[in-house]
Symmetry: C2
Subunit: 430 residues, 2 copies
């Protein structure tokens, strides 16, 4: 089947995708009403199937990796693509964690009565059909599939061409597990062709059959999806995240948080890209913070005050302040207190995740109130920007928009709601 | 000023709108942090100002009405446009009601702790800058302005050309009230030109300065906004609302609810457009329901069984089932029980508001669970689809999408949220 589908004509891709959309819609109707225990059992069966298929998944992945190497992919790219036994085990565990979080569907979010006796409830429902467009990481197939399924949605997965075989093997296992519990296999569909026309079709919404598109990948993918999509998008844009050290602040705590925020993993969207230091701390804290970063292998690009603190600091350029390095590089600057820090973050940041380190509780509260980002922290690392760390059982990404989903997008964020009203014959006067 | 702005060149409109966007953004930043009591006081001052300006508003409206009459507008159009003392008083009362609802900003929606000691809160924030594009009803100026303001947003209002002077007069009063409490007048801006290029500019998002667009008006306006907008849209599409009478059902209650749902006001989106009757009730309930509707002045378009019940019933056509009449016309059909009713509503409905009338509690629960509409009711009229009736203090419209806002859009629905995390030096392991 794969060979045939990889050479389908344009018309066929169109028909294929509309057929997938219709099947997703039908599966979504069934899943919306599925018993929570059955959904959980189906996810556990998917975990088992992924574990049982481990060798098959690794074989498929080895073929993907071989192809990528042949075409000269970078080692960072190969690292994102490559699976090993540990990564497959982690993937299975990820599905297991999602299986274990509370089922959001049917939850009564709010309930109240009206003077006329009507009882109104706002109750969680699935979103419907979610399209996920992603790149080389094959584990997204498992993460996104499991989260969407948990929230009662049907999902159409369009993975990267380079991880095509890996995603197919993972998908086959998951679907076998789900079907074994009598739930529709069409609830998790993987586009069975590398044809690039698929993305455009998904972004068109397939005649209203796709309710939301989630792009998961680099800037250019997310940008394309946002520009072209005719359906709502949960975009996670860049994470130009800040740590601001405000006087008074414990130096050891500041060092620990800054080091972790920048260096724990430099390639994640919650990694800090800028360190701002209160001018009151320029003499006491700036030098040790900068030395620590450089000694840890981080390039520091600093303003004048920062360059004075350590001769190894290179000059920061205007564009650096808004750059998501995703690497062991950091912009460092001295600011005139909280107000200036908030202004800097508003001007150069990406409304993703920003942290203040300070012993001044009042300043911390002002920072938390005034910084307009999805996640704001006091005395904690920006690297906590993660659905798992929030207790969501995983995430499909970190949304930086202000509509519907903001911050880590877990199962609960992949839901909608409706109003359920119970009456006893009420009619509206007037 | 009006005359100048009405003849601005293209370049000027562009500059004008971007300037309005920038001023809205600045006002939104101030309003997001404004003291709730101050916002309430500002709205009460706006109420006072509208009442004080009543004569001025009516004079401006009289000029609008005269122009509309000259250009041959229909009497229904004139009725939507025309204000009188009672309507201005109702408008002021509407602002007063919004002033009185709880302030949504700063509300902690959820709070939990993590094993590492982090305390996470999800807290309500404003959306930012809202653009409202509407048609001839001048009261939208007051409703939309007050609701957006209550939720800490800045709003750019683009009213209909025909109500241009009325909206200006209402807007002037509101802004005077708000400014008298020291809050930014730019929080509520009205586009000061009839130039049609304005709508396209607002839909472009003004370089990211508009966060969401709310179209309020007829099908063609909403359709255009949805097709063109580069920013998220809270669209309220048609209300093809159903009442389904399921056996067993009290005939008197069914009559009361059907009459109210269809005839209380035929021009609102929550008005019923289709009546479905369980085949088990065809002999007992169908005839009295149809007779009642026809006697009340409603045209009944029915299927075969309905035509047999009363000779005055005309034949329903396929397209009638999906038509929002907004008039004293109803489609009536007999269905084979709950399953068939749910299928009919899924196929022809608009996911707006649907009601079941029945004494069978189990059937009612199945209907409430399975009908995928923003509002589902048991034993109550569809005309309760209204923010005021929900206790929201008003509404900017009824959203039929599944993202962010669904159902009546009041102040609380015009908000976003962020995560506030308090730590004590936590860093992320691994």
């Amino acid at each position: 089947m794969e060979a045939r589908l990889q050479t389908v004509e344009d018309g066929d891709v169109n028909a294929l995708m509309h057929d997938m959309g219709a099947r997703a819609k039908a599966a979504a109707r069934v899943l919306a009403l599925a018993d929570p225990a059955k959904k959980t059992a189906a996810l556990h069966a998917a975990v088992k199937a992924v574990r049982a298929d481990s060798a098959r998944i690794l074989q498929a992945n080895a073929e993907d990796v071989a192809d990528a190497k042949k075409s000269g992919a970078s080692s960072a790219f190969i690292d994102r693509l490559k699976l090993d036994e540990k990564r497959v085990a982690a993937m299975a565990e990820g599905i297991e964690t999602v299986a274990g979080v509370p089922d959001p569907i049917g939850q009564v979010i709010a309930a109240w009565g009206r003077p006329n006796g009507l009882r109104i409830e706002r109750v969680r429902t699935p979103l419907g059909v979610i399209a996920v467009v992603y790149e080389s990481r094959p584990n997204v197939t498992a993460d996104a599939g499991a989260l969407a399924f948990k929230a009662g949605n049907a999902v159409i997965l369009r993975g990267g061409s380079d991880s095509f075989r890996s995603s197919q093997a993972i998908h086959a296992a998951m679907v076998r597990g789900i079907a074994s519990e009598g739930l529709p296999a069409d609830a998790i569909q993987l586009v069975p062709t590398r044809d690039r026309a698929v993305v455009g079709l998904l972004l068109s919404g397939l005649n209203g059959m796709v309710d939301v598109v989630v792009p998961r990948g680099g800037k250019s993918l997310v940008g394309r999806v946002q520009a072209e999509a005719k359906v709502p998008v949960f975009a996670h844009l860049e994470g130009v995240c800040h740590v601001y050290v405000n006087a008074p602040a414990d130096l050891e705590m500041a060092k620990k948080i800054v080091l972790n925020a920048k260096m724990r993993r430099t390639g994640v969207c919650g990694a800090a890209e800028t360190l701002l230091v209160d001018r009151k701390l320029a003499d006491s804290h700036l030098k040790p913070l900068v030395e620590m970063l450089i000694d840890a292998g981080c390039e520091v690009r600093g303003d004048e005050a920062t360059r004075k603190a350590d001769s190894r600091v290179v000059a920061v350029r205007e564009e650096d302040w808004s750059t998501e390095y995703l690497d062991a590089i950091i912009s460092v600057g001295v600011v005139d207190g909280l107000e200036a820090a908030v202004d800097h973050i508003d001007r150069y940041g990406s409304h993703h995740t920003d942290s203040i380190v300070t012993d001044d509780r009042e300043a911390a509260e002002a920072f938390l109130a005034r910084v307009d980002s999805a996640i704001v922290l006091h005395n904690a690392s920006t690297q906590f920007a993660d659905g798992g760390e929030f207790g969501f059982g995983g995430e499909i990404g970190i949304a930086t928009g202000r509509l519907h989903a903001r911050g880590p997008v877990g199962a609960e964020q992949l839901t909608s709601f409706k109003y359920r009203i119970r009456g006893s014959g009420q009619t509206r006067p007037g």
